[in-house]
């Protein structure tokens, strides 16, 4: 067995030993970490998410009742909900809701508004060009990019198979 071979085996042995150590440590970490309160979080998300969307439905019903067509009422409701998300972010209370509600306040469109307004507020100190405008979409960027992309793909598929 040449010295090179011995060196390579030694390296592989060290690597395997390190991996075993790391796995053992991961198990230790898992046992010490506090357990996730899945049920509590899920219920909070359900209740708040449901409340927000039910509220939006009420608004849409009111708008339709005063004479708007369904499509216009839907669009107007979206505008109102986005405004409310932005407004409460500006007041500094949307993050307090998010702490309790988790996905319940992130997923509705109010959460989307929050994800754009919060970086806009945050980076104002770096100016309106490099701060606000450039950094506004740091959180929502992936939603916009992949949302557009998938819509275009689905549109193409629909067009091709028409």
């Amino acid at each position: 067995m040449g010295t090179n071979e011995g060196g390579l085996l030694d390296k592989q042995f060290q690597k395997a030993k390190q991996q075993a150590e790391q796995q053992k440590y991961q198990q230790m970490v898992q046992s010490v970490k506090p357990k996730q309160t899945w049920l509590k979080n899920a219920i909070a998300a359900f209740v708040v998410g449901g409340a927000i969307t039910a509220f939006a439905q009420v608004i849409q019903n009111i708008l339709q009742a005063v004479g708007l067509a369904q499509k216009e009422a839907g669009t107007t409701t979206l505008v109102i909900m986005v405004f409310l998300g932005a407004f409460f972010t500006g007041l500094g209370i949307y993050d307090n809701l998010g702490k309790f509600a988790g996905a319940g306040s992130i997923v509705p469109i109010t959460g989307f508004a929050n994800s754009i307004v919060s970086p806009a507020l945050e980076f104002k100190r770096e100016g309106f060009v490099y701060g606000v405008a450039a950094k506004m979409f740091t959180i929502a960027g992936p939603v916009l990019v992949y949302g557009f992309l998938i819509s275009v793909i689905i549109g193409l598929i629909a067009f091709i198979f028409q």
Partner: protein, 337 residues
């Protein structure tokens, strides 16, 4: 293994132990509502501290802490030979801009949350080595500047996991000299970067615990001491989860830390403050050491403390590239002599 003032693998034994001359600690409102509120020199009323940005507020606190420690010693800034300072922000701007105000010879450091103990070690080396009479070590962190850089905009409505820690808003400064009211710095054990594969940046305690344990054990081996030589062993910011893991890891090597071990991230906040796992940030170990710990030593409660600053050496970029989080721990022995 070179050097005449070096024992064991990597512990420095100072021939003429430098002394703590003065300390200063400034903290934010949340820390000022915590269990150690009475120990801090100053509690600022809001996180902007009269400045236009949180970054400027952090710089202000850091410069003020250094000046406060110099004033407490009855000295002037010109009496300080060198300053070691660092912080969490890109290019360590808090330290750089504070140094701009302080105009003393300056070494900028980055050790993440271990910066204070790294600074104390280097300051002690300069003094014991005869290169300086008085050296200052200081650091700062700020909850909001850290959130902006490492995590999410502060108004974003996401949930933080229970393993997450709360970055301490504050600044701590320590002035070391050839003589002083004490305590003295007798030993320093320099850390090695240790990475046990933890990838979750919301769980830095787990990432740093192996490095902290490694340094504690190396220190005890190098000095031939056992944990109960010390009245207190304190880590910087492992918080509840990292602390529990360190105890377990040490136990695996037959070192029992259960009697006299605590952590600054556990001490600085009360559980009712909803900080999840506990405190973190450069200022965590700095303000707790520069107030509560050293005060209690001078008051006679503790004679020997092994302090250990812990740092998680990742950046948002490294985590996004799938890297795990390496940790480091620097130990310093404080002893009333």
């Amino acid at each position: 293994m070179g050097g005449t003032k070096r024992i064991g693998q990597r512990t420095i034994q100072f021939a003429d132990p430098p002394s703590v001359v003065a300390t200063a600690s400034i903290v934010g409102p949340k820390e000022g509502e915590g269990p150690l509120a009475d120990s801090f020199d100053k509690i600022i009323q809001d996180t902007y501290y009269g400045e236009k940005s949180w970054e400027k507020a952090e710089t202000k606190m850091l410069a003020e802490a250094v000046n406060m420690s110099i004033k407490k010693a009855g000295l002037t800034p010109g009496d300080v030979d060198y300053l070691f300072a660092g912080d969490l922000l890109n290019q360590t701007i808090s330290a750089n801009y504070a140094a701009r105000q302080l105009s003393m010879p300056f070494f900028g450091l980055y050790g993440a949350c271990s910066t204070m103990y790294e600074g104390i070690t280097l300051a002690a080396i300069l003094i014991d080595g005869g290169y300086a009479d008085r050296v200052a070590a200081a650091t700062s962190s700020h909850h909001d500047t850290a959130e902006r850089q490492y995590r999410y905009p502060t108004e974003l409505g996401t949930q933080r996991p229970m393993t997450a820690q709360w970055t301490v808003t504050g600044a701590g400064a320590i002035l070391l000299g050839k003589s002083g009211p004490g305590p003295k710095i007798t030993h320093a054990t320099v850390g090695k970067v240790i990475d046990q594969g933890v990838k979750d940046p919301s769980d830095m305690g787990s990432a740093m615990a192996p490095a902290a344990t490694d340094t504690i054990i190396t220190h005890l081996q190098d000095t031939g001491r056992s944990p109960d030589y010390y009245d207190l062993i304190v880590t910087g910011d492992l918080a509840h989860i990292g602390k529990a893991l360190t105890e377990q890891l040490a136990q695996q090597q037959n070192i029992d830390l259960s009697n006299n071990y605590t952590d600054c991230g556990v001490l600085i906040y009360d559980p009712s403050q909803d900080v999840h796992a506990g405190g973190s940030g450069c200022a965590c170990s700095a303000v707790v050491t520069c107030s509560y710990l050293l005060e209690e030593m001078i008051a006679g409660k503790y004679k020997r403390i092994l302090g250990l600053g812990t740092g998680a050496l990742m950046s948002p970029l490294s985590s996004q590239q799938g890297e795990s989080i390496p940790g480091i721990g620097h130990a310093v022995v404080f002893e009333m002599m």
